[in-house]
Symmetry: C2
Subunit: 356 residues, 2 copies
């Protein structure tokens, strides 16, 4: 066989049009086993690491005054791109402390380890000219939802959901230009009145506000709309307004129960003819809850904060002292040179290999 | 205090010129505790995951014919950028199987979990017009080395080291153009004769070969030299020639012993005045062993294979069936549109959130 024949058979092989059903099913079951094993490990490591994080907090308290501003000045691109000029000024001068907890894991290592609690502690009084809150706590719950497609196939959604958290801005200081308040208003109105949220006056109000802000930002900015990772011009503080999918604790519990039973049966060899669709069309899912999301990338930002910025904060802090680093960067407009950020990332990111 | 004053105090705070000594020491000790805890967890997860990887191998064997070509066609950018046109043709038609093992971890979970063994299984005889090897095994050992700087400070190096592995190319088929052979020749000559390797004729030979290939590639290519991640034009098969730092098993064992003792003493509160230098200048380190490295990014590629391509292979395989994917990509020249690759990565990368 010549090299040319080799090439030919390569092309033939990759023309197989579909993944064989049994192989797809087996890989899917295997992947569930991996995820379950990894989630168990995350439960254990959460408990194991707690004394270390406490120890770190004690060390941080010695340099509290400039710890977080240095960390944020070295934030990885995946966070940095959401911090606008004005956000940097506010966070840099008002943020006193930040903690991330996998708060649903108890002392015995029971509970959902993917749920996250972010506690932002701020300076108060005259030291914080921007808002009144001393503490802003944003909880993200890891939830599951199972629906049926029109064809009768299962569709499983898993992810982080949250509720908007209000910030008591001082006069004229609201960086979200009223969007965060509108998101909080809508969530509160929904709690008072069950039914279709699209019929609430608060829904109309926030939808209109988002439109206005978007067109205002479009006018301000000649550049391509795609440069904006969030609805045009939205501040990092929009993060506190993230909701995600609408899945109650009860609904999620039921879905987990159903999934656990199905998983056990699948391990025993049972086959199901309503298996999850192979090609999950994410857009369909998101359409159902995304349309009034003031900070659509909230889940990604939460995960980046919890898995990178916060656990590596002491390394980003250390890097901020390295020769050649320029702190004034933190106050520059990051959006304009996103490409540079990407280059920087590969240099300034704590090395993965230390934690292989 | 006005917003302006807030800004001012921010600038004052970030003018602190150096990290306080005690804080640096405490963070460094804490980081060691994190790394040790995480390395222990990696030992445990290595043992826990073995049955799952075996299960996966069984499933893969059902679709062996096109599994790896589909995986490679969906490889993440960090791997893909090292696979040249010709490499893709060879790997696509000749690669039968690939396994990654943390081979220094025994059944009881003892041993160094960061060491890696890559086993490439190839078609043979007429089915492989390129080389004779049925199996190519490349071992990477995680080793530690402690040296003293001229100022008497400690410098700790940790990383993957390896030995060149020969490929028996068929006539005219050597994609590395003799580089891999030259690297193997040098390593063998060094084993036979202790002393300064720079005085060996094999050293001069490989150094000259690298220069020749580099200038030939420079002529072929008008573009910026920096576009090439490896010495100009080097094939992916150069990976088998990677060596890294020169650290013997014995030397590494001694360094680990010294480090363990020091770590225990530090936990007891002992302070050392020859602490590792804060600003480790990596270039200095690399200079000592990099100059005849035919595949300088070997460690990064090994880690990307072990932590991404291989563990996620079944997901990359699944993605290869998704609508809109184009397999012919695998045979295109990747280097010319690296930017596109980067964009693709964010889409085609298995979602992290499933494994938070």
């Amino acid at each position: 066989m010549s090299a040319e024949d080799g090439q030919k058979s390569l092309l033939e092989r990759i023309e197989m049009p579909e993944i064989p059903d049994d192989v797809a099913r087996e890989f899917s079951l295997l992947e569930q086993r991996f995820i379950r094993a990894e989630t168990d490990r995350l439960r254990r490591s959460t408990v194991e690491n707690r004394p270390l994080w406490e120890q770190r907090s004690k060390i941080i308290s010695k340099v509290q005054d400039d710890f977080w501003v240095r960390v944020l000045s070295n934030a990885p691109a995946e966070i940095d791109e959401y911090i606008q000029h004005a956000d940097a000024a506010v966070l840099g001068s008002a943020l006193k402390d930040l903690t991330v907890e996998r708060f649903e894991v108890d002392e015995k290592g029971q509970g959902e380890p993917r749920s996250l609690r972010f506690t932002f502690v701020f300076r108060t009084g005259d030291e914080n000219p921007f808002f009144e809150n001393e503490k802003v706590v944003k909880d993200f719950y890891w939830r599951k939802k199972i629906t049926k497609t029109p064809k009768g196939k299962r569709r499983t959604w898993e992810g982080l959901v949250s509720e908007p958290v209000r910030i008591n801005w001082k006069e004229g200081m609201d960086l979200t230009k009223g969007l965060l308040d509108a998101a909080c208003d809508l969530a509160e109105a929904e709690k008072k009145q069950a039914g279709d949220r699209k019929k609430l006056p608060e829904f109309e109000k926030i939808a209109k506000k988002m439109e206005e802000l978007e067109s205002a930002a479009m006018e301000d900015n000649e550049e391509d709309e795609e440069d904006f990772p969030t609805p045009a011009g939205t501040s990092f503080f929009g993060f506190f307004g993230y909701r995600g999918n609408v899945v109650s604790a009860e609904e999620s519990k039921e879905a987990n129960k159903e999934d656990d039973e199905r998983f056990e049966k699948a391990l025993q060899g049972e086959k199901f003819d309503d298996d999850d669709e192979e090609e999950e069309d994410e857009d369909d899912d998101e359409d159902s809850f995304d349309e009034i999301e003031i900070f659509p990338d909230g889940e990604d930002v939460a995960i980046a904060l919890a898995e990178d910025l916060w656990p590596n904060a002491h390394k980003y802090y250390g890097q901020s002292f390295e020769v050649g680093e320029d702190y004034s960067d933190f106050d520059e407009d990051e959006l304009e040179d996103e490409e540079d950020d990407e280059e920087e990332e590969s240099n300034s990111h704590p090395r993965k290999k230390a934690r292989v």
